[in-house]
Amino acid sequence: MYEFQEQIGFPILTVITFLPALGGLAVLFARGKPNVYKGITLAVTGVNFLLSLVLIQYFDRYTATMQFVEKVPWISSLGISYHMAVDGISVLLIMLTTLLSLIIVPASWNYIKDRELQFFAAFLFLETGLIGVFCARDLFMFYVFWEVMLIPMYFIIGVWGGPRRIYAAIKFFLFTFAGSLLMLIAIVAIAYLARSNPFATPVFDMDLLENATFSYQVQVLAFLAFFIAFAVKVPMWPLHTWLPDAHVEAPTAGSVILAGVMLKVGGYGMLRLCIPLFPDAVVAIAPYILVLSIIAIVYGALVSLVQKDLKKLVAYSSVSHMGFVTAGIFALNIVGIEGGIMVMFSHGLLTGALFLMVGFLYERLHTREISEMGGLAGPFPVMAAFFSFFALASLGLPGLSGFVGEFLSLVGLFTYSKPMAAVASIGIILAAAYLLWMYQRVMFTGLRDQKWYKVPDYSLREIVSLAPLGILAVWAGVYPNTFLQLIQPPAARLTEKMAPYMAESGSVVERIFASLGGLF
């Protein structure tokens, strides 16, 4: 029952997960000392980032088995254990999380005026939730972390957000919570169905669940429950409408984490749970999901095109980009899956950066209305340079990170279905359209007001916040193998798992309808 993999000498996953929470507690006790709690936050996120680098360093990237295993019984009478372990996908996303968390600290240094202390504490708790999701190997733990990250984000949007923050926060919470509750029931159901006999304790351990087999009806229903929970987070069309509201109202740092990491947990969940646990159902339902993904890609882009609010535009672009994630993943081949993960990673970097920049812009202009901007490249050349860099990377310019993921995921999709890939590719055209048009309206053409020349351009603090993201974006574009290597073994494992099921996908609608009565 106890298990500890002696890979690095100390339980690094536990440390990396709970260090921020401890920091958060420490912050709460530093009332009235801004420098102390900001310092703590910076130190904790910094250390965590370094730890994630250590993790990658010691990580064996040539195997698909879970590493850094830590396993201790937790609620043993319910079959729940404290079980943490990571594979390449987790490691990559943990690194992204710690990086973005670190970047946010300087970015919010002077941004939050009210109840700053709680803000930083909320952030640290949020980081714990996020990392926990990526580490958990026990379904129960997964769910706990999944929900834990919800609360701080709810507060971040609701307390430090814009004028419609309450609506946005509640919408965010209820959308996510609705999905989670379905997932909770599915978790319980499969945990109890996976028992060897009716008197055994339920099975929450993912390792064991992956070897369990479920009847087709159970698979379909449980898959849908899990999938809806993840689809809300991703967010997939038509479950996406919380996202624009949440982003527009959230403070910059909130948007960055929300777009940068939180959306990724959706994709991560699909990879970690939907596919390995319910291979039969995945094969059957994948076509529908792909259709939804493609709708998301095109739809998000079209809606983005006509947005008037800069942040909303970026938010809708996330819907479009994340469509590539699900499209890649549910193409169910290794290229697509790796592409999907790369899109997640790169979207985390790029959209994070875009939101940061929108925030920086807002701090200067006190508006996000595109119609009130124009010609800003004049007074803010450095900003314009960064803006163009990240906008171009985001529209999938080759050589930068966005391209690799999108292209791989399209190749994967193309392998699955050519017409689908063709339609999805329209999204790439539209991405260029909305991003360039946005860039043009913001940065080009005549300056509205000469007073902006008196406002300073990016400070060193802001450049330092953005630079790592830019560097990684170039890195992932020029030498993506660094990251692809990490995710190749797990992706291969997933496709191997799928392989036996790929052949026997029959008339899907029929099977789904036939199975609906089964569970009840």
């Binding site: 109840r115 129960f140 929900e147 307390v159 309450i166 609705a178």
Partner: protein
């Protein structure tokens, strides 16, 4: 005889303390009465320890009218915790409202005894006496502030509906007795199982018993009293009334519907499903409309009763132990989060213009940071968000429901949890995301050590049950083993 007395030692302690309080109270000046709560708390704690000492043996005492086993010990300790928390919350409130009487604590202790008897009874008569003892005390606690119209209204409403519903329950028990010729649960259960029993009267008995219990726990359509009573009753009393009687009633429900009526599940399970669904609908949708926090909490507790009934239903399905133990755990979690939530309202009463409404807590996040923080904790726990007790309770409960084959009921439950999230979150929204219309003022005697301790215990309970629930889960599982042993 010695064994008998040993087994009821906790009750004896409470009775003795209550009597002491009653005797001492008139002799003390008003200020001196502030310590009386501590007497009651000490008694509760001691009684809880005494109860814990009994855990290793099975006592079936007083000619099998009560059974002191792991099951009743679980409930009794829980009830004593409720009592202690209620007393911790009360002292300051009574002081502020200038009605600091020892009788109040005596009533809480007597009610606790009644509830403990309800939990440990294995005999209809004993149960009924316990029930009435609890009920009488509750009526008085609700109407304790006799100079406040609302309190009297609450007392009146609680009394009339309570007595009315007790009659249902009593009639049902009378018929059960008549059909079986015994008042002992086990014998009644055997008689019904072995039969033959006339089905008409049996069904009437089941319906009457169900209706009576539904009233006691506040399940729809027998719930209407609850919001009015909680709103009108003194806030700490409301906390006590919202939790204690429910725990005791569920303790009895589980015994009634497994030991006695376990063989009749095809009769009562559909009825209870109907009640449970209606209860969840009423609880969630009505709470959405409330502006008064105590009413909101009342409807919320109605909603929680709906979930609990789901677990009872799960128990019915071939008597699965998980259904039963999930009820136990849920009640434990519910205790802390609900009492905590009411406790925060007590705390807010410091603020002179506080009227228990949502508007009154606007901006509490700034003016009462700690209170608002733990209020959020309780609200999240009531919503069922990890890592709180409420989540684990809901998780455990849904496990039971799904395991019993009622996945669709779990989905319905989840739907209403979602709806309920809306009004729980609204509390947080008001506290943190809105600014108050007027600045809050603290009254002179704002600080209260008892209250702080009470809230601290509740908050700790919510967190500990959420993070390290294993001991309580195990206790709940062990508690039900014996009950379902046959």
């Amino acid at each position: 005889m010695k064994q008998d007395l040993l087994a009821i030692m906790p009750e004896i302690m409470l009775i003795a303390t209550a009597v002491v309080i009653l005797l001492v109270d008139p002799l003390l000046p008003v200020d001196g009465r502030r310590g009386l709560s501590w007497l009651g708390i000490a008694a509760s704690v001691t009684a809880a320890i005494a109860t814990w000492q009994l855990r290793d043996e099975e006592y079936s005492v007083f000619s099998h009218s009560i059974a002191v086993d792991k099951y009743s010990i679980f409930f009794k300790i829980l009830l004593l915790v409720v009592a202690a928390l209620a007393m911790l919350l009360s002292e300051k409130y009574l002081f502020l409202k200038k009605r600091l009487l020892g009788d109040y604590y005596a009533l809480i202790l007597f009610a606790t005894i009644g509830m403990m008897v309800m939990a440990e009874a294995v005999d209809l008569i004993t149960f009924f006496v316990g029930l009435e003892l609890m009920a009488l005390c509750s009526y008085l606690l609700a109407g304790f502030f006799r100079y406040q119209e609302r309190s009297v209204e609450a007392g009146m409403k609680y009394f009339l509906t309570g007595a009315f519903a007790s009659n249902f329950l009593l009639f049902g028990m009378a018929i059960l007795y008549g059909l079986a010729g015994s008042t002992n649960y086990q014998e009644i259960g055997d008689a019904i199982r072995l039969g033959p029993v006339p089905s008409g009267p049996l069904v009437i008995a089941i319906v009457l018993v169900l209706a009576g219990f539904a009233f006691k726990v506040g399940a729809a359509p027998f719930h209407n009293w609850a919001p009015d009573v909680y709103q009108g009753a003194p806030t700490p009393a409301a906390a006590f009334l919202a939790v204690g009687p429910k725990i005791a009633a569920f303790a009895a429900i589980l015994k009634f519907f497994t030991i006695m009526l376990g063989s009749q599940e095809s009769t009562w399970v559909p009825l209870m499903i109907a009640v449970a669904i209606l209860t969840m609908i009423v609880g969630a949708t009505m709470a959405l409309l409330q502006k008064d926090l105590k009413r909101m909490l009342a409807f919320s507790s109605i909603g929680h009763v709906g979930y609990l009934l789901l677990a009872v239903i799960a128990t019915g399905s071939s008597g699965r132990s998980i259904g039963m133990s999930s009820v136990l755990f849920y009640l434990a979690a519910y205790t802390f989060m609900n009492m905590g939530a009411f406790g925060v309202l007590v705390h807010m009463t410091n603020h002179s213009s506080f009227g228990d409404t949502l508007d009154d807590i606007a901006g509490a996040g700034k003016s009462f940071p700690w209170a608002a923080g733990i209020m959020s904790l309780f609200m999240l726990s009531l919503t069922g968000v990890p890592p709180t007790a409420g989540f684990l309770a809901k998780f455990y409960l849904f496990s039971a429901v799904v395991d019993a084959g009622y996945a669709w009921l779990a989905v319905v439950g989840a739907l209403f949890s979602l709806v309920s999230a809306f009004f729980y979150l609204r509390v947080i929204v008001y506290m943190y995301m809105r600014s108050p219309e007027q600045e809050l003022e603290m009254s002179e005697d704002g600080k209260s050590w008892d209250l702080g301790l009470g809230l601290g215990i509740a908050a700790t309970g919510v967190i500990v049950l959420g993070i390290l629930p294993a001991p309580v889960v195990d206790a709940a599982q062990n508690a039900v083993v014996k009950l379902l042993g046959n």
